[in-house]
């Protein structure tokens, strides 16, 4: 928030931060609904909790920082960050996990740097990575989709789970490692891709359920492109990076390297490409820079997935690329009018 004298342009504003954020929220809806369809209502509970916590935190911090509260709350940037953060969590997470993660995201990821516009790292990813490192057990208890387990937690059970009134072991039959995790473990045990792919958690191309969620993220991403909320450079370069790497290794040895489509449709690649890496505050700003930035994330995702110790690497890749943004921006300045 800055106060300065009146100047041009004197036309009414055509675009507002709030309108941009609402576009992102609209684009998140189909994927979120698909998520809930396949894995139960836990994800909705996570989102609602995260959004409420985020708004409360944002209001409190703004008050402490003596900044106007309403203008900042009503730009919905906290809602978007919280929503994206909640989507990274396992579908059934205790409320305190959500609170710890979103607190870290809002305080350390956003406001310690000066709030919206000044944070070098994607706040949602900061919160998620903090949890992943601090609470590895809670952050890796994933559940099977309805199409495999035959059922998901009912809304009441999911709520009771979130608020700690239910024994976790009761649902052991429903919990399972994610497909990416299973592939990672299997490769470590010298089991070939074709063998592991016969497990019921795998669908046509990616993990069962997951591939459909990715598809709906993709549709949401197209909406963002059509409404010009984001531009094509980052998603295309990022997906290109993942697909390119995956294709090369898959062609070299399909028994130990998964297919490009599997990589595309598993984990957080699509949502990362369209929704997270495109966060304008933390991404590169020039066209060329965005291509480099997207490609860098794509390569890092593949490297971390295949040779790193984590099953998925979207969050780490984005944070690492965030670090490179000032450098990328500086060296990718476009040619100015009249410059040879």
């Amino acid at each position: 928030m800055t106060s300065i004298a009146i100047s041009s342009s004197f036309l009414p504003p055509g675009n507002t931060l709030r309108r941009l954020m609402i576009q992102v929220i609209i684009a998140l809806v189909p994927g979120t609904l698909a998520y809930a369809w396949h894995f139960g209502s836990g994800v909705i509970i996570n989102i609602v909790l995260a959004v409420l916590f985020a708004l409360a935190l944002e209001a409190g911090i703004l008050k402490l920082r003596a900044r106007p509260v309403m203008p900042h709350l009503s730009d919905f940037s906290a809602v978007v960050a919280a929503w994206l953060f909640a989507l990274c969590l396992p579908m059934h997470s205790p409320w305190w996990l959500v609170l710890v993660g979103i607190s870290f995201a809002m305080i350390a990821g956003k406001h310690l740097y000066g709030g919206l516009g000044f944070n070098p790292f994607n706040p949602a990813m900061v919160g998620y990575v903090a949890l992943l490192i601090s609470f590895p057990r809670e952050m890796t208890s994933w559940y099977l989709p309805a199409s495999v387990a035959g059922e998901t937690l009912s809304l009441t059970d999911a709520l009771r789970y979130s608020f700690g009134n239910i024994d976790i072991n009761q649902f052991d039959a429903l919990s399972s490692a994610t497909p990416l995790d299973q592939i990672k473990t299997a490769i470590g045990q010298n089991i070939s891709i074709s063998e592991i792919r016969s497990s019921p958690v795998f669908g046509e191309y990616g993990g069962k359920g997951w591939e459909w969620i990715s598809f709906w993220w993709f549709i949401g991403g197209l909406w963002l492109l059509l409404t010009r909320t984001i531009r094509w450079h980052i998603p295309v370069a990022l997906l290109g990076g993942v697909l390119g790497m995956a294709l090369v290794f898959y062609l070299a040895n399909p028994e130990i390297y998964s297919s490009p489509l599997f990589h595309l449709l598993s984990g957080a690649v699509v949502i990362g490409a369209f929704f997270i890496a495109t966060d304008p505050v933390t991404a590169a700003t020039t066209d060329m820079g965005r291509l480099v930035y997207g490609l860098l994330i794509g390569l890092l995702i593949y490297i971390i997935r295949v040779w790193g110790s984590y099953p998925d690497g979207v969050a780490f890749s984005i944070l690492l690329a965030n670090m490179c943004v000032p450098l990328i921006d500086y060296y990718s300045q476009p040619r100015v009018y009249g410059e040879k």
Partner: protein
């Protein structure tokens, strides 16, 4: 037909031109008092040539400067100079400036014109008359036309571009001028051709002005002008910017640090053409211009041929007054490049193409609040200079002038596209203007202190040299004396009296011994 090129960025804006062009061209009455700022152009400042109490005639020069880059100010009507002093003027800073105040006598009496046939004049004589008439570029830049012409003539011009694009919303003064003074526009074009000898001439008009295109084309068919074409250009802001128009028409870019005539191009606004015609044919100085008055808080938007120095409130009265009584936001220039005025006393000057009268609440940026930059780069997408506005903003706010230079702040044409699309409603251009003037001030101060230091160092050097010379002289003198002294000492025998006495005693003893033997 030439092939048009698309420039980078730009915006499709709602034109809002119909409001002000409905009534055609109206003649504004002359107010009782005219306020003439002595600074109405880019370049050296004028000095008043009249004193309070002097009677002036219409067209008489009242302020001038012998410098080349300068345009004189003339009395727009006859009357008496009543005061010279600081009055509100149209400047983004809101600071008052020196104005000559004329109490108009209503006779509108002009000096006897000197009327040679302009077709017989040499280019130099033509430029001299254009200079005397105080003509500046009326498209907004207000650069004196005469020095621009002589530089252009010296560089050799291939293509003459007559700019009737008028791309900014609300403004229709050039549109109306082209429709009412088409013959004068074209005769002025002819005089420019007579001076510059271009191979071809392009008259560019944005395609949202079909009447102006038709009228100029019709008038062109009746003139003897050759190799001259009317080119409708697509409506996209800021196609009327000189560099953008050059890019559209020729596909060329003016290299950084150079001007259009360095690559054989010369742009002139249609209004300037009319002023040139009047100066050459009728010996009329630039004392009036067409001004658009528009916006959502004026009763009768329109175009008025207005004497320079007319206070804006006079024009507002002519245009039916404010629509909503409470609080108006006055802007000189269009909604994209204009700036807020300090009050309604501000006079019309050579640069005043448009006065926007807006309701206070409809003007954005008035709350003094804007969100922070989220680096979305929408500004980069629309920037016609292909700059990185969000980086410039960042460094301008941090007052990191070195970085703003690296990001080519000086190439910003202040078109306002970035401010318009910014989702955080940051008045980016305001930041750039502030940064530019601060850099200029710093450079001026730097230049001054550099000059002072150089002078001081020179003085020190000079004194040191003087001292060294004096010392050298003294040394030489001492040495010369020493030498002289040494020389005389060597020729003389030992002059010690004791030794001499001893010698004498010795000699006597010797002679005594010799005598006794």
């Amino acid at each position: 037909m030439i092939k048009l090129t698309r420039f980078h960025g730009g915006l499709h804006l709602a034109g809002h031109k119909a409001e002000s062009r409905a009534h055609g061209l109206q003649q504004a009455t002359i107010p009782e008092r005219l306020f003439l700022p002595i600074r109405q152009h880019i370049g050296e400042c004028n000095k008043p040539l009249v004193e309070p109490g002097d009677r002036v005639l219409k067209g008489q020069i009242i302020a001038a400067n012998p410098s080349l880059i300068c345009a004189a100010v003339h009395a727009p009507s006859s009357g008496t100079v009543s005061a010279i002093g600081d009055y509100p003027v149209a400047h983004p800073s809101g600071q008052p400036d020196t104005c000559i105040v004329i109490d108009v006598d209503g006779k509108d009496e002009a000096a006897e014109p000197d009327l040679p046939d302009p077709r017989q004049l040499t280019p130099d004589a033509m430029m001299e008359r254009i200079c005397r008439a105080g003509i500046v570029g009326l498209g907004g830049a207000t650069f004196p036309t005469s020095p621009k012409l002589s530089r252009g003539k010296a560089s050799g011009i291939d293509t003459l571009i007559i700019n009737g694009v008028e791309c900014e919303p609300y403004i229709t003064c050039d549109d109306i001028l082209m429709r009412h003074y088409s013959a004068e526009v074209l005769r002025g074009t002819g005089y420019l051709q007579q001076i510059l000898h271009p191979t071809n001439t392009l008259i560019a008009i944005e395609d949202n002005k079909p009447e102006a295109i038709a009228e100029i084309s019709r008038a062109l068919a009746q003139t003897p002008l050759t190799n001259t074409d009317v080119i409708p250009v697509p409506t996209i802001y800021p196609s009327g910017g000189e560099k953008q128009l050059i890019h559209i028409l020729t596909g060329k870019e003016v290299p950084r640090g150079q001007l259009a005539f360095d690559i054989g191009l010369f742009c002139q606004n249609v209004g300037t053409c009319v002023a040139i015609t009047r100066a050459l044919e009728k010996d009329e100085a630039l004392i009036s211009r067409v001004v658009t008055i528009s916006g959502d808080n004026i009763n009768a938007p329109g175009n008025w041929e207005t004497r320079l120095g007319t206070p804006i409130n006079h024009l507002i009265e002519l245009a039916g007054g404010y629509r909503h009584a409470a609080g108006a936001n006055l802007v000189m220039g269009g909604p994209m490049m204009g700036f807020s005025l300090s009050g309604h006393q501000v006079p019309i000057v050579k640069a005043s193409n448009c006065i926007m009268v807006m309701c206070e609440e409809t003007a954005p940026h008035t709350s003094g609040y804007h969100d922070e930059c989220i680096r979305c780069s929408k500004c980069t997408e629309v920037c016609p200079a292909q700059l990185l506005p969000q980086q410039l903003y960042w460094h301008a706010r941090a007052k990191n002038w070195e970085r703003t230079r690296e990001y080519h702040l000086s190439d910003c044409i202040e078109c306002g596209c970035c401010s318009t699309v910014c989702p955080s409603q940051i008045p980016l251009v305001q930041y750039y203007r502030a940064a530019k003037s601060e850099i200029q001030a710093t450079q001026k101060a730097q230049l001054k202190s550099d000059r002072a230091r150089a002078r001081f160092e020179f003085r020190e050097q000079r004194l040191l040299l003087k001292k060294q010379k004096a010392e050298e002289r003294r040394r030489l003198k001492r040495e010369a004396l020493q030498k002289k002294h040494d020389k005389s000492g060597a020729s003389k025998p030992i002059s010690d009296p004791v030794l001499a006495a001893l010698a004498r005693v010795k000699a006597r003893k010797k002679s005594l011994q010799e005598d006794s033997q």
